[in-house]
Every structure is written in structure tokens, then in C-alpha cells.
Symmetry: none
Subunit: 192 residues, 4 copies
Amino acid sequence: MTERIKIVDKREALLDATLHLVNNNGFHDAPMSKIAKTAGVSPGTIYLYFENKQDLINQLYIDIKKSFSKYAFNNYKKQFPVKKGFEIIWYNIANYKLSNIEQAMFLAQCDNTPMVDEISQQEGLKHLQPLIDLLEKGKCEGIIKPKSNYLLYAFTIYPLAFLMTSQRQGNYQLEKDNLAETFQIAWDAIKL
Amino acid sequence: MTERIKIVDKREALLDATLHLVNNNGFHDAPMSKIAKTAGVSPGTIYLYFENKQDLINQLYIDIKKSFSKYAFNNYKKQFPVKKGFEIIWYNIANYKLSNIEQAMFLAQCDNTPMVDEISQQEGLKHLQPLIDLLEKGKCEGIIKPKSNYLLYAFTIYPLAFLMTSQRQGNYQLEKDNLAETFQIAWDAIKL
Amino acid sequence: MTERIKIVDKREALLDATLHLVNNNGFHDAPMSKIAKTAGVSPGTIYLYFENKQDLINQLYIDIKKSFSKYAFNNYKKQFPVKKGFEIIWYNIANYKLSNIEQAMFLAQCDNTPMVDEISQQEGLKHLQPLIDLLEKGKCEGIIKPKSNYLLYAFTIYPLAFLMTSQRQGNYQLEKDNLAETFQIAWDAIKL
Amino acid sequence: MTERIKIVDKREALLDATLHLVNNNGFHDAPMSKIAKTAGVSPGTIYLYFENKQDLINQLYIDIKKSFSKYAFNNYKKQFPVKKGFEIIWYNIANYKLSNIEQAMFLAQCDNTPMVDEISQQEGLKHLQPLIDLLEKGKCEGIIKPKSNYLLYAFTIYPLAFLMTSQRQGNYQLEKDNLAETFQIAWDAIKL
DNA sequence: CATGAATGAGCTTTCATTCAT
DNA sequence: TATGAATGAAAGCTCATTCAT
């Protein structure tokens, strides 16, 4: 019992340290020694939990991607009417990016960089299926523009990444207040 | 004369090599030796044109940013009516990302990674001022939603980055045909 | 009782594992962790039976050397006439190298490498005294050439190491049949 | 010109350092850092001349094997009568082992250890062909016992390795004087 | 006795940078 | 200008050994 907690703790500490260092210094300036030190652990210990640096990055990516998609579909049911369902998912994702900036930044870095295995990248893509299904349903019902899902995603969900980055740099403040206005813009983009 | 051309050639070859390697391998797997070899130049030669690796990356970033913004405002005049002006800029940017994928990928990598100096990052931001001015004008004239420019940018220009990435991975084909439909989505998002 | 047997078993398992790994991978690629795993034991356990890696190697060397010399003088009595005595010892050694290839290989590795303590090396040398005595007797009786024992050993016993190696590599088959011919060669070398 | 000499010098210095360290400490205690220091060179420099540690060892092995076999057949011509030819080769090898103890020790270590690639090991074997041919000729002419070449080698050439080791440990002195007697023993072993 | 997670010194190797040519 | 051999600090990783359980 205590053992399992400890193990989880150390793995977690290492993932946290990696997240933090890669975010702030980039993959290229996040040496294993620093990761170990930040996690309060000896360099050799990393290799008890991860095969190598690439594996550490991959696992971090997948872990975060999982927690992200779990968050994204919280309280969502596919029986919901299209607009309501979309609203819930959109708000979930927006809130995730607002309150888990570190994680969101890391995902952005992974998605724009060849630092994650292609296999892990594929793995991470699977998780948005319910959103795809919802968009399809919306198109069938004549509520959403009959365009590629990539297009619909690009103009509704993806912009949140930019707002998050802007916010982090202090240029823009995305808050509960203006979230509704922002959703309106997203919805205007794709509604029929 | 030939010498000056040569100089330009070598600098250019080095920037090209860096662009290519960083795009395909990431900053962390683009050693100076490989950059030199790809550029057909000796490692030592790099330091005749650039102070160090960071400087090389910075200059590449600024160079591309410049060429990008030049492209973005091609044929654009601030006297144009708001929608026409916006349309021109939007299409310019879309076309740039379609035809200069390497450059666009690199910018995306820089914007989501701490690989470029903050100073250079600031430097790169200045270039979009005419777009900002245009959006402001649109808001004054009641044509565009009275929202933060960050928001307006996020839901019109920024999505193009996602489409470019999707296209590069073969998931989506952004072409001349559907460019018009795509613009419509962008415009719907911000028009009043 | 069971405990003592167990103890012996574990020590034995560790020695066996070491023998096997050092033979196949070399000393430099036989880490304690692999030895432990091969022996079906925890890494920490090794240190209950051996002081450290060097001690493990040393003890293995001495153990094998002991069993080898016991085998070498099996059925031998110093009262035997010289040629008969020599024949018995020679056949014993030949048979040992034929049927205990792993052990013989390990000894060869130890004898040509600085992997064993000098002390242990000295320790291992003592065991051939009866053979030395026999050679001396042979020289006194005018049956064997009056040469250094090193020389006599080099041209009678030592060649068996080469034949064993050749056999292991599949180049040569040393078997019961040709053992007699081989002995003849050895004897021709040193007989007067 | 100066460059090539320098290059050869550095490669040579590294091979020498490796020879010395592996002989005295064993493969397992001959770290690249020590090799570099002994060669009067920086650790990184090793990798300008060798792919990795294994390659360094392999090349050293092959180099020595080559120089050994060149030495072995010095002044030898296949037109010589069998005994004279054999005598020349045997003396050459004996002299090599007497005057190039370091090299001979290293070869012995390689031949009794899995430290050299199998490919390189094969490569090293090719060089004794003229001796094989000579033994065959001797057998045809009824001068040498009609036995396997492995056997003939084991009882004539191979014993020299033992004498060299003994000599190095100060137990035995193989010198010009007793070389003739020693040859006699070898010849007695295989002559018909 | 036995475990095996943890350690950290030390290993092999890489790579940004220099400098004699 | 241009070279590229050389550097050496630092990277990723291994492994003999320890110690709390």
C-alpha cells in the first residue's frame, strides 16, 4: 500500500518536473539531471520508471492527453441536443486551458514539435471521438455548417490555444466574464 | 561582387539548413555539425555569420517573420474598405501557409516553444500592426464585433495554423477551392 | 537443514549465473543485476554471499580451479609408473575440458585477463603440484626430457585449451576416438 | 603531409593507449577517459578516429593480427622444404611473442574473451593460411603426422602463448639459447 | 535471510565552440 | 574568409552497492 503510493509519487514527481522544465526551458534545455533534481530524486531513479528520455516525454504526453479528454467530456452526454452538448464541451476545454495552463502549454509544444513519437501522437488523437460524433450529428440536423471536422475544430476549439498563450504572456485575460462572448464567436463561426 | 553574393549564399544556405533540420528533427536534434553539413559548409564557418546557435535561431525567426508579414500585406492598402482589406490579408496569410509550409511550421514551433529569445519574439510581433489597425477601424465602423484584437485574431487567422498542420499530416486538404468557404467561416466569426 | 541446503543452493545459483554470463558476455557485460536475475535472486542477496563483484569472481575462479584439480588427479596415485601416471592425468584433464566446457572456458578467460586477483591466481596455481612431482620423477628416471616443467606443461597439457576452444567454435571435434592419437602427440613431445 | 602524419600519430597513440590499458587493467577497467588521457588527447577526439569503444577494440585487434602475421611469414617462401619452412615460421612467431609481449598478450586476451566482434575475429583468422598450406604439404610428403591442422597447431605454435605468459610473470625465461631446444620439442610432437 | 527501490559516481558519447592553418 | 581537427563540458545512461522493510 505504502509502496504503491510511493511509486506513484515518484513517477508523478518526475512527470511534474519534466512538465515544468520542458515548459520553461524547452525540450532541449531540460536535461535528465535537472529533471531528477527538480523531482527530488537521483538521476538513476528516472530509469526505474522510464526507459529513457523519449519514453518519459511520451508518457507525459499521453498522461496529459488522457486527463485533458476526460476533463473535456465531463458532464457531457451524447443524448444532449447539439448546441447544448457543444457548449458543454467547449466550456470544459476552455476551463481546462484556463486552469491547467502548464498542461495546455505542454500539449501545444508537443503538437508543434517533433518531440513526441508518432505512435504516441496517434495515441493522443483517439480521445476526441465524441466531439467528432457530435459535429457530425450537428451537420445532419442542419445546425452546423456542412464542412470538414478539421475546419470546424480549427475555428472553435483551436483558437483557445492562442488565447491561453496570450494570457500566459499577460497580453490578454480570458476569464469567466468574457467566456460567454468568446463562445458566441466560436458558435457564430460554425452555426448554419 | 561575387564575394558578396557568396556571403549571402552561405548565410542563406545555413538558414535553410537550420529551417529544414529544426522542422524535421526539432531544435534538440539539430546539432551545428549537421546544420553545417546540410549547408555544405564547415562547422567553423557558421561562426563567421552567426554569433552562436541561439543567434542563428533568432535570426532565422526574424527573417521568416519579416518575409511573412511582407507577404501578408502584399497588395493591401489601408484605404481599402474594411471587409475587402481583411479579405486580402486573410487570403495572403492563407496562401503563405499553403505555399511556404516549412516556414510556417517553423514559426509555429517558435511560437509554442521557448527556443527563441524573448527579445526576438517581441521583434516578431511588431509586424502585424496594419492588421491591428484594420480591426480597430472595423470595430469603429460597426462592421466587426467590438472585441479584443487577440480574440478576433484567434478566431480568424490563427486557425490557419491548425489547417496547415493537418494538411501537412495528410489529414486535410486546404486548397484554392475551399479557401472561400473557409474565409466565410472566419468572417462569420467576427462580423457583426 | 533445509536452510543450509537453500544457502548452498543460492550461492551455487549465483556462481552458475556468473559463470554463464561471463562466458557469454565477458566480464565487462555481466552486471550484478543480470547475475541476480539469472540466478533467480535479488541483487541485494548477492552481498549476503559475496563481499563484492571481485570477490564473486575470485571465489568462482577458486571453486572451479579446485574442482578441476580434483578431477585431474582422480584415480591417480603417485606410486604409478611415470608414463601410466602421466597418461591418467592427461586423460583426466582432457575429459574435464571435454565435458566441462563452460568451466574450462572460464578458466581460460581468467588466465588471459586481469579479472582475477593476483592472490586468487596464486591460490589456483598450487593445485598442480602432483603433476610437477611426476614430471620431476620422469626426468630423474630418464623417461622425460630434462626441461623446465613450464615447457613440458606448455607442450602437453596447455594445447588442450586450444582444442577445447576450437571445438566450441565448431572447428574441431575432440572426441574419445582421437583422444589416443592426441595423447601420442603430447607424449612424443616430451618423451626422451 | 604534416596533417596525415599527425592523424596517423593520434590514431596510433590511441591504439597504443588502449593496448596498454586493456592489457594491464582488462577491458572492463579501461574507460575511454583513461584511454584519452594516456594518449594525451581529449575524450571527444577518440570519436574522430573510431566509431565507438567496440570499434576501437576491433580495429586494434585487426591491426595487431595483421602485423603479427606479417612478422610470422617474414623470410618465408613456400618453395622451402617443409622442415626448414616450418622452422622459420615457428621462430618468427616465437620471436614475435618474445619481443612484442604487449601485442601477444592482447591477442591472447581477445582470443579467450568475447571482447572482439565475431566479424573481426573471423577477419583475424584468415592470416595463417600459408602455415596451413605448409602443414598440408608436410603431411603429403610423409614428414608430418597426418592429423588435423588444429591438432598440429595446438602442439607446436599454441604452446608459445603459455611460455610468453609464464615469462611475463617471471616464472620462466624463454630466450635465444633454449629456443632451439623448445623448437625440438615442438617438432618431436608432430614429426613422423 | 531476503528483498528491490534507490542511489550517485562514473561510464560512453555528443556537441557548441575554438583556433591554427 | 574558410576550414575542420580538436576540445572539454555536459549530456544520457549504467551499474555496483546500500538499506529500510
